[in-house]
């Protein structure tokens, strides 16, 4: 006999598939862009900006080596002085959302808070992907 003590909230928080009524409605786990560029605190901003541009993005998520979300670089931050370190330029501690949040609820949140994008993370803060307003409109 085994006890999955962390329970279904842990499972949902990791964006894993479930069965049931709620599973029929799209969630952030289904729409989050997992190919969002990432960078670390000690990188040079100019290098990150170039890499992000080549990848066709205008946003980069700052993560720890364990992929814990630390900050966000949107267009404004990416266009700062090239010789700054990411840590100096980033927007720290962005609001994050769990993979289990419904797309319908996220639309409302993004409209209420005027968000263009937000990181989606597990319950322990690890990056799952980026949800963009344009992808759930």
């Amino acid at each position: 006999m085994y006890d999955y003590q962390a329970g279904i909230q842990d499972w949902l928080g990791a964006g894993l598939p479930t069965e049931g009524i709620n599973a029929q409605h799209p969630r952030l786990a289904d729409v989050a862009r997992r190919d969002v560029p990432t960078c670390s605190l000690d990188e040079r901003l100019g290098d990150v900006r170039d890499r992000v541009a080549v990848a066709g993005w205008d946003t980069c998520v700052v993560v720890s080596p364990e992929l814990v979300v630390l900050g966000l670089l949107r267009a404004k931050e990416l266009n700062a002085d090239s010789d700054l370190l990411v840590e100096q330029a980033m927007r720290p501690g962005p609001s994050t959302y769990r993979p289990s949040v419904s797309v319908m609820e996220m639309r409302r949140i993004m409209a209420d808070r005027d968000l263009d994008s937000s990181p989606v993370t597990t319950s322990d803060g690890r990056l799952v992907g980026l949800v963009r307003r344009q992808d759930i409109a």
Binding site: M1, Y2, D3, Y4, Q5, A6, G7, I8, Q9, D10, W11, L12, A14, L16, P17, T18, E19, G20, I21, N22, A23
Partner: protein, 67 residues
């Protein structure tokens, strides 16, 4: 005494054919449950477990969270 396991171990046990038991009330089970889980609410588990479960296979039980 049940052995506490993590998410990755649950995934591995599911692949190996373990029985997954959701002990939440039926309504919550209906909203969301782990793939392949059966519902045995806590208040019924003593009377129903012997009928519903194969004790020759691993059994994983779970609730909402650790609270």
């Amino acid at each position: 005494m049940a052995q506490v396991i993590d998410r990755e171990t649950v995934r591995r046990l599911i692949e190996q054919g373990a029985q997954i038991v959701d002990v939440l009330p039926a309504e919550e089970y209906g909203e969301d449950h782990l793939p392949g889980a059966i519902n045995l609410p806590l208040r019924k588990i003593e009377t129903e477990a012997s009928r519903a479960l194969d004790h020759t296979r691993p059994i994983v039980v779970y609730c909402a969270d650790s609270a």
